[in-house]
């Protein structure tokens, strides 16, 4: 991310990383991107839980919720609205791909300005494209928000300008997986559906928030393989991540969608939930 305001590397204010860090050499690490509002990192526990799960999948030592939460608050407290990125790597050392016997992981927390997306995108919806770049299928890495992100970089390079706001990605077998930076949901015949993340894709924190809200609202939700034709026939379509929260999709290629009632209800519930969480934290 451009415009890093401030960063902590293993607790010290720094802007650089050792050349031999395995994050740089091999993408041997994980990360998460957190929205900070009113100086409070939103859904922090969920982000830390996900980091811990992702570390376990890669046998990466996890530094612990305590130190990450403390540093997250230290860094984001100075800025009322920003984006906080937490990145964990296996640290330096190990010859070749072989992991060091006793890794000293690197933890990087960095603070960035909130992206300047026009606010009306949340209300009026976005224009999307179907990316040519596909996601390779590998259950070994599926779900993990790891540092191997070339597929997303190539997909995002397929368009320029501000007319397209997100690209949707299929796997190499042609099933819908996610957006380049978001998860995707659709409504069809009263059921909320989102792609299974068991073969590729990122299990986003906002995706799990939306799942929780759907259950709370007694809305049927299914994780499934979703085809392109199903995508085009959806009644409602939206994408989510922790920075944008929820963007309704108004157009995908030449197909248009209404911003429907379930989309509006979920977007509103997310906003409420964030407000409630903020009140709870401020009272503690």
């Amino acid at each position: 991310m451009l415009g890093c305001d401030k960063a902590l590397v293993n607790g010290e204010e720094k802007r650089c990383i050792d050349l031999s860090d395995r994050g740089f050499q091999y993408g041997d690490g994980v990360f998460t991107t957190i929205a900070v509002g009113s100086g409070i990192p939103q859904f922090l526990d969920k982000h830390l839980d996900r980091l811990q799960r992702d570390c376990a999948r890669l046998a990466l030592p996890y530094p612990g919720h305590g130190i990450l939460a403390e540093e997250a608050r230290r860094l984001s407290g100075a800025s009322s609205e920003c984006v906080l990125k937490i990145l964990l790597t296996r640290g330096t050392g190990g010859r070749g791909y072989r992991c060091p016997d006793q890794p000293h992981p690197t933890r990087v927390l960095s603070c960035h300005p909130r992206p300047d997306y026009p606010f009306e995108l949340r209300d009026g919806g976005i224009h999307t494209r179907l990316c040519q770049a596909r996601l390779g299928i590998n259950p070994l890495l599926a779900g993990i928000k790891h540092l191997n992100r070339l597929e997303q970089v190539l997909a995002r390079s397929e368009w320029n300008g501000d007319e397209i706001h997100e690209g949707l990605m299929l796997d190499t077998e042609g099933c819908l997986v996610e957006g380049t930076m978001s998860n995707v949901f659709l409504m069809k015949d009263g059921r909320l559906r989102t792609p299974l993340i068991d073969r590729c894709g990122v299990a986003g924190v906002m995706r799990s928030v939306v799942r929780g809200l759907a259950l709370e609202q007694r809305l049927a939700i299914e994780e499934a393989r979703i085809t392109v034709s199903e995508l085009y026939q959806a009644d409602e379509l939206f994408v989510t991540n922790c920075v944008i929260q929820l963007w309704p999709v108004r157009q995908l290629e030449s197909v248009k969608y209404e911003v429907g009632p379930i989309t509006r209800m979920l977007a509103s519930r997310i906003t409420t939930l964030i407000g409630e969480e903020l009140v709870k934290i401020c009272r503690v």
Copy 2:
């Protein structure tokens, strides 16, 4: 790699990299690993050609053979035997996955001690395993030696100790692709066969050297999908990369192989070729 003796970052002696470098954030870059003997980087032109091709695949600006060759010689000249790694990234900048409009690529050249593999491995052959970790299939990235190397890291973490020297990897459909750090060849009924690198895997420089030597020796060579049962039934089996050159495989799991005549001939031709190249360079 551990034990980096010396490094140049964009031509300057440095040991660290900006936190916001896209190589660190996304693995948005490529690399190559070069053996240096008698102070001369071996097969340098082939390595630079491959870097240039890989950059083109990722739309990464290539710095040019001239500057890389000059810096490679500057760095490796001080050390008669070492490993030289050249790593190119899309540099800093770009918000999220979106590439900067005018990227300023980062080039890193680093010098490392030669790994201390026992010399008898070259002669007597190695013990290998079949890795559980599979390679995802994605033609978009196939062949490129890019910085997204988590699959290799996970495969290499499946064993410890010095009894196993390399692990062979299959793709998610069960076809043989490569070793964790090498390409693989087998002889069967007088034909040399190596996996196609069109769906995943790295098109190694030593792989192309061996192909050239096979053609020169009028040895039939085929790139093909190779199954596990074919692997187990091979008459000869060997792996290659630019640092190890060629290691015969003596054992894969519980199956044993002879170090055969074609393997020995190719190993010897590689040594001769490197010697000839050295003489040519020294005469210039």
